[in-house]
Amino acid sequence: MSAAAAVSRRYRLTARLSQAWAYAFTGAMVLFSLFPVYWVFATSLKTKRDGLANPPLWIFDPTQANYLKLWSHDTFKFTFLNSIIVTGIGVALSLSIAIPAAYVIVRMKMRGRRFFGAWLILAYMLPEFLFVLPMFSLYQWTGLYDTHAGLALMYQVHVLPLSIWLLSSFFGEIDFAIDEAARMEGATHWQILTKIYVPCSLPGVAATAILNAIWIWNELAIAIGLTFSRAQTVTLGVTSFRGYAALDWGAMTAASIIAIVPMLLFAVVAQKHIVKGLTLGAVKG
């Protein structure tokens, strides 16, 4: 056997070992990611006695009782509905503000561009309660406290910077010659934006909307600071089950599962958009 063949054989062996390890490690991480979700889902299908069994039960008789109980839990249903409304308003608001702003940033000369960029980063990175506590008193005075609109407005401090970064990078991919031509034909900026930019980067707009929706749906600190009862979101609805930790895992786990189902559906349907949005967000941000 020639030396070269021996080397190539050893090389093939290490390559195969490294492949095997890659599969094993990935498999372990898939289990690590999945197991808690599986376990909590399983717990939500257990009767109270099965849920608190010691040692934990792996095989049990599933019951829908916890979900039926949750269905008659009016406060929780109400918070779920509130989250749908607040997420809807928040996403609509963020897109209608960020789309024209991103267009300006990509295609127009603007004074104070660097200052604006630094402002976006600051708004995005500073802690929630720095903004929430002063807004609490402003909202009390103006009647925005505990309203869907007030909450959706406050969420803009986080979703606007992200939306502008994402949208301006999607808009930047559009060939400048196209809108140059449109401008020659006498199109206004509004027409160029709505007839060319938005339709051409619809997947990017969708990715932005989805990331904003996920962020708003999952947010707790701002919601806890600016709502009390009427506009409480589902994260607060789930929080109200915190005290059940030692008593009734069924209700707590069922509420958790219901609260995350919309986002899990998103993840399945729009994985590509989410990945693209997260990746671009990191590169731009």
Binding site: F25, M108, F129, T253, I260
Partner: protein
Amino acid sequence: MTYEIKSIGSSAFWFILPCLFVLALTSLYPIAFGFAVSLTNWNWGVQLDFVGLANYVGLLGDSEFWTVIKNTVVFAAAATSIEIALGFYLAVQVDKLSIPTDLIRAVIMLPLMISGIVVALMSKVMFDPFLGVVNYLIGAFGFGPSAFYGAALTAMPSIIAVDVWWQTSFVFIIMLAALRGLPKDPIEAALVEGASNFTIFWRIKLPMLRSLLITVVVIRAIDTLKVFDIVFGTTGGGPGLATEVAQTFVYRTAYSYQQIGKAMATMILFSLLILAISLALQGLRQRWEADK
């Protein structure tokens, strides 16, 4: 690539005005008003006197404040470094697989879609000291049982573990996309030259990814410094002060003790800390880029 300013001046203004207005209302106003409040002893009610820097001086001389800052930094440093190492390593492994990985990525991404408060409650079920499945599982390997959130020594590591479960896939997704986007030519050339995978990773891939990696570190560091949900939902800062972090401390100071002046002073000091840390990391990146 830009229009002449005179032809677009006014429409540019109208296009960006709503954005400036909303950002000013939701960020500049609170910072200005909050700073003013931090110079008072306001209690949300009638008590409102100017106290100068008394809140700041009081905080800086208060051992509780320093414990909170220490906890926050320990949490952020530990969670960020584990997430970066684990997420990047996982991305390298998944990048090697020769099967379609969309489904794998979707499953690993699952925790990232879940809200922090739900993650917190899930972990309370899993980490229950008496009936939890985690104690059962580590018991099978001869460890534990651990009190997890119930003891000062284990509470912080438990919360760090929860954040690692929750956020590692963020690092994974970005680094996987970056690894796949690397130019093929230099890697193939090195393979032809007989370079090992190990060498290719350290000498070719890592230098090209270093700048992005720092960005991901900055994002994770800021996010973990701001931690609120998973502490609020699990230990609430306890036992004692073992897991009290900046934002849960401020929440308690403002809403339970009605010391809004002190709470705002804490937030201002903490914001300065976040700024300093991210500027330091940014400076590190610039130095590295200058080295190249």
